[in-house]
Symmetry: C2
Subunit: 340 residues, 2 copies
DNA sequence: TATCAACACGAAACCGTTTTCGTAATAATT
DNA sequence: AATTATTACGAAAACGGTTTCGTGTTGATA
């Protein structure tokens, strides 16, 4: 057991002052070559590393980023996290993750916890409950305290800060357009409650596409599912009661569930019913047939968010940049579950 | 913009000493009720919160746990992480995650980075490269410095510390036994390179089961795949060239890949060939037919690891507990991809 | 009236750094 | 020889807390 060595230890052993040791290790011109060599050798031998906590206290920056995500088991958030971690690490930052579990309270508690010095900035995607309650005072307070925040994916216009979003409406429109070009007539949308900005945007894109192609909107063709319940019965009834030849689902799970039920009901995918989902995750790649889907480029999204945050943190004292919203362009990946 | 308030600020405003403020906020009996009330009210009004960094420096404990995992996109690690985060959070700890990306170098760098004061202890699963090179000096050094470590899943006997593992051999044996009871005669194993302790243990379980039931081992029925390559060709050839009626795969992806190729080759799952995988992830639950699999209880594993670590950290000064190895009992989940 | 608790608070050390500033000792200049 | 510049280092403050110990002021006791 050899505990960590400090500047003080080195100073005592070598009979110099702490300041001298500190300067010597930073190769200061103030210190003679002899002394520097001696100190460096000693430090190297005992594997001296400066204490991060002491540095943080002194510099008033921790080189830690707080990441708050609603759920890590969702593939999309996992990939975004991957992107954040990768970029942050390259830039010498560490990442502290908290999972809000879609709960507003957890989101608030975790952020307040971390805000007391543990991190230099936040990257987060709003919890479902936060979006539902439209409650953003915790974010406002942190911004007020000068802590930079980057929102991604689940964002809100109530808060002014850097953001990274997907062109949800546009890509949903493109997906529906793709159905229409392939000859689909009755196109369904399977979505979540509309307080999610992303679902709402995808719905808008869906409606836009119908309008552009002079399709009449049939509200019966929009199925709203909750993300935390057993939806199998609802889906089954939906496809039994409605004649449908194409479905756009706002996430991968819904898409896979629909495909599985559609197949059980005796329809052929994609000949009877085409399916396109969101998130190019593992499910989409390994299903039969493989799922056509909207790739959200989560990793890029994460990197972009991290870059936005780190840039702002590192320029904070120098210039006052206006807030940016970066738009990630989704890609429609055509695979076996849709025609052509 | 109202920056964070400190003890010093309160002391100045209220014309008392810093010590008085500190004691008042901790409700010390040393301070008169009047003064305490005044200080508490002021602190509350300005939303005073002690600075975590200063506390860490003083207390020599950060209440942060470092988690190093090889890969976060793998469902198993994600769930373990979930368990760690959950338990740690309940106990007031934050989690700093680094992804080693199966690289020994990254593992070493990240751990050294965090070890300089940022965390109180580590939870990790060894990277592939670390297991391949059998290089554990970084772990030994940290343990030497008095930093507690808990290894999970990918562990090694070279290091003495707390560990959490799955009863891999046992459950693999049980899975193969299940095949045999259902009448399978030619049982294959699809696995990874054997320097992974987990794959090796599953292989041992597979061999044990064969031996117990007086089956001859046919090395041709063991297919070794690399985890980062395109394996489709290898799998296809394997099932074309070998008569097989059951397959145990050491992970979910291999299982799904095998199932998909087996079906393409015109075999019926499970009638012609039964399949059991490892990891009860999203893939297993949504495949057609649903995949029989070994549930590894990742979340429980994570919680157990976090509990082991936190217990050790909090008792560190008091007693010297011997190291423990907790074994998580996997569960065989029988679904559509295997008979009976 | 001198002595002594009890009370209420402040000074200062400490955690491990960095950094500014002051100052001996030596060397260079006039 | 007196002054100045340079070199090489140390003292101390600062970051934001906690905690030990000391101390001035009361009120009670002998």
């Amino acid at each position: 057991m050899k505990p960590k060595i400090t500047l003080k230890d080195i100073a005592r052993e070598l009979d110099v002052s702490i300041s001298t040791v500190s300067k010597a290790l930073k190769n200061s011109a103030e210190i003679s070559k002899d002394t520097k060599d001696k100190i460096k050798a000693f430090a190297k031998f005992y594997n001296y590393r400066p204490n991060n906590i002491a540095l943080s206290l002194k510099n008033k920056r921790t080189k830690n980023i707080g990441v708050i995500i609603p759920d890590i088991v969702h593939h999309f958030f996992t990939t975004v996290f991957r992107g954040i971690e990768k970029y942050a690490n390259e830039k010498g930052y560490n990442v502290i993750v908290c999972i809000s579990d879609e709960s507003n309270e957890k989101e608030v508690i975790n952020m307040e916890m971390l805000a007391n010095g543990s991190i230099d900035g936040f990257i987060l995607s709003l919890s479902a409950e936060t979006q539902l309650k439209n409650e953003y005072t915790h974010l406002k307070e942190l911004l007020d305290q000068g802590i930079p925040i980057v929102l991604f994916d689940r964002v809100t216009s109530e808060i002014e800060c850097d953001k990274v979003v997907l062109n949800d409406a546009e890509i949903a429109c493109e997906a529906v357009g793709h159905f229409i070009k392939a000859g689909s007539k009755r196109i369904a949308l399977v979505t979540t409650e509309k307080y999610f900005n992303v679902s709402e945007n995808r719905r808008i894109g869906y409606l836009d596409a119908l309008k552009v192609h002079n399709f009449k909107v049939d509200e019966n063709l929009i199925l709203t599912l909750s993300h935390d319940m057993e939806n199998d019965m609802l889906i089954t009834e939906f496809f039994q009661n409605n004649k449908v030849d194409a479905v756009l689902c706002v996430n991968e799970i819904f898409a896979i569930q629909c495909m599985s039920i559609i197949q059980e009901l005796g329809f052929n995918v994609p000949n009877d019913i085409s399916i396109i989902g969101f998130t190019d995750g593992i499910l989409s790649r390994f299903s039969v047939p493989r799922l056509s889907t909207v790739a959200q480029h989560g990793e890029l999204m994460g990197e972009t968010a991290a870059k936005l945050l780190i840039d702002r943190m590192e320029w904070l004292d120098e210039v006052e940049e206006p807030f940016k919203t970066e738009v990630i362009n989704a890609t429609l990946i055509k695979r076996g579950s849709s025609i052509n």
